[in-house]
Symmetry: C2
Subunit: 447 residues, 2 copies
């Protein structure tokens, strides 16, 4: 069926033709219809990109088909199994983790890298692009030698090998993970050139598999007076947090797998505590020790760090739950709209308190809002992809999104957040994100 | 909180202690309870691995905790961002794609590689481990130069750039992909040493994002007399299949993303047709041409190949839907059970006809069956992870699973399949898979 006599052809130029597009969107079973109704997207209002038409006369014979048969169809491709563990196309070499533009992490070891949200689709983050946050670099742990210790206020202190832990009954769950410092650039210095990766890239999502922590704690026997649990990592920072026993016995996992395979080294290989919906640092990586106690352990990471400044300048500890947030990832800062017409606004919404139930988008700087379509399945404490059709008229526009979660909480404005915390309190910034679209099509951060 | 005076300690040896385990399994909200009830898993019957207890006296002080502080906690770890696209731990170097053990593909270019299902958890396949099947190697396609042509029985032949296509409204869906030749080794030569990777590794699962094909076809305008669609790949085999128009207008996607990032080269970068639930070769990779016609196009891949031999020795073309199948991935051939006691049986079930509604497991070579727990969310035409607790008594055992899908179809035995197709018809082998556990704990393929 290969074309035998390729030649370049001239194409008819034709205006974009929206025929059928609105009805096709509306009947997609996996997108709720209300988003489209809210959008008022009639056929006439839509200017969908349609490629170019070409003359029917040119298609009478397969051998005359435009475009020319490409070079890669004329010669054999590359053999497979090189490498046996695959990598992305070299054409996608810019889709990588990186530090924040213009920022300098404290050291090479106490640092972070950001997920390129502006280039991703759906909700899964490939493991190679999962954001990183380390306090003393990435230890190289031999899984055969790794141990988990459970002690303190338990009936029977215990020690486990990885083989012990993987023999327990397991569960798999899709959850986001977000650093409590995510989105802080917009709190402290919302520069126009910052991208969604720069601002919100301390956010990723995966299918996590592990043992329910409650199952393993039951083996040790939690004493009634145990109210808190110390979790310690095997990195040289001995990253350590105090966790209320209620969370430990609720949905906490001892996770050893992400997106099907064993944890990546930078995600805690071979074992991490995973606390769905809670700030990332509590999901202690390279987990080696759990100690049950009657009170919080007041570690460095809950006294000096990861605390919040209140409006009266007191300090609030233990800000565990990541509040509901949403962000438009396309179009976003650094993108450029090629031409006026149809544009699908797409983004991510999530809540540490449960499920996303509604996302609204605005294209007029918050003066009006309409409901976006939510991609199913909507899972608890997981990213949800939202989409809303938009017709860009070529003028200036300011785009924003706001999420409502299953607890009824609505994502606030920055002004609303400033009434409940001090301006120096940059953790947990879940304020509404706005992007400015210039008449040139260039998109920048509007804070 | 780092231990300051580490020293090796002696541990008390203790028998496995099942306390709490059954109730903990049963109250996991995301696993249905019926599997556990079916298992008859009482506390007394379970012998769960529990690690080892150690003396409470040794835990009075953090500085005395066993085991010794490991070397990797005493020195800084590796800096991050090397590489900016991450890779698995070197300790997981055996978890890779590879050809079938003992088999030799026809050429380096017309070949395949298999997903290591025995090492994976959950349902997502990391992109680096997604199985491959190529007819002429992997072309290196410049996405800027790639075009999709739609012609034939349409109102207006059209040509699209990748930018045209990604501007269309998109959807994201979790779906399995399976080669129609998957599982054929058990049909033709079920050797005991074959692993689940060897036998069933032409199976993977991802979150796919793309444009509903119906949306794009509506732009070209499908004529009423169009009943079939030819899909052609831009590889040098010009891999070509005929697709009924009903499927093209149902849930077919023009996919450009898998698990969040752009398609991998070996999965059709930059564009593939994706037909949920249908045999993998119909999801044509490197898609460059769709031609609408009144009848099937009778390509090589639907005459010489991918056809089925019936019991009367006639040939059946167009065997599109991948029938319901399930397979236990742990324990499976090549695994070795360390000791008698608790063992979580875990596996994958799927159906091209819809959702998995039930999986039953047998540990006595099919004499009795009990229901496994299904991991939620259960998605259509997607892998579903099932699990069933088992107490291995140290004797010989034969493990098997069988799935029922939402159409009511039940996975058949090999004997049942042989009544409806010829023994030479090795495609679409969805017979029940059995694994033999020897008293040594060694597991082998039982066909």
């Amino acid at each position: 069926m290969t074309d035998k006599d390729p030649r370049e052809l001239q194409f008819e130029e034709s205006p974009a033709r929206p025929r059928g597009i609105a009805s096709d969107i509306a009947r997609r079973g996996d997108i709720t219809r209300r988003g489209l109704i809210g959008a008022g997207l009639g056929v006439a209002a839509s200017a969908v990109p349609t490629g170019r038409a070409f003359s029917a006369a040119e298609t009478e014979s397969d051998s005359n088909l435009p475009p020319a048969v490409p070079q890669w169809q004329k010669e054999p491709g590359a053999p497979i199994l090189t490498p046996p563990y695959g990598l992305p196309s070299p054409h996608e070499a810019t889709v990588v983790r990186r530090p924040r533009a213009g920022a300098k992490p404290p050291t090479d070891l106490a640092t972070y890298s950001l997920t390129p949200l502006q280039d991703l689709h759906g909700v899964i983050t490939p493991n190679g692009l999962h954001y990183e946050r380390h306090h003393a670099g990435v230890p190289d742990i031999d899984p055969e030698q790794h141990r988990l210790i459970i002690h303190g206020l338990v009936d029977r202190p215990m020690i486990f090998t990885m083989e012990d832990l993987t023999r327990f009954p397991s569960v798999s769950r899709f959850h986001f993970l977000e650093c409590s410092g995510n989105s802080s650039p917009n709190w402290t210095a919302p520069k126009p050139e910052l991208t969604v990766q720069d601002i919100h890239g301390l956010l990723s999502c995966a299918e996590w598999t592990g043992v329910p922590l409650a199952t393993v704690l039951a083996e040790a026997g939690v004493r009634p007076e145990a109210k808190w649990m110390l979790a310690e990592g095997a990195d040289s920072a001995a990253m350590t947090r105090s966790i209320p026993i209620e969370k430990a016995l609720d949905d906490a996992l001892l996770a050893y797998s992400q997106n099907g395979e064993r944890l990546r080294p930078e995600q805690g290989y071979p074992l991490r505590l995973f606390l769905p919906g809670w700030e990332g640092n509590t999901s202690v990586k390279w987990l080696r020790r759990l100690k049950l106690g009657a009170a919080p352990f007041e570690t460095r990471e809950e006294t000096s760090k990861y605390t919040m400044v209140m409006p009266d300048h007191t300090i609030r500890q233990f800000n565990f739950v990541m509040e509901a947030k949403s962000v438009i990832t396309f179009p976003s800062s650094g993108h450029r709209l090629a031409a006026p017409g149809f544009c699908e606004i797409s983004g991510l919404a999530w809540s540490g308190a449960g499920k996303v139930v509604r996302v609204e988008v605005s294209t007029d700087d918050g003066r009006s809002w309409r409901e976006a379509a939510l991609q199913e399945p909507i899972m608890t404490k997981c990213l949800t992809r939202f989409r809303a059709p938009w017709r860009w008229d070529g003028g200036e526009a300011v785009l924003a999104s706001r999420v409502t979660d299953s607890s009824g909480y609505v994502q606030p404005s920055r002004e609303a957040l400033l009434k409940v915390r001090d301006v120096r309190s940059y953790y947990h910034n879940n304020a509404i994100q706005s992007w400015r679209v210039a008449s040139s099509g260039a998109v920048t951060n509007a804070g």
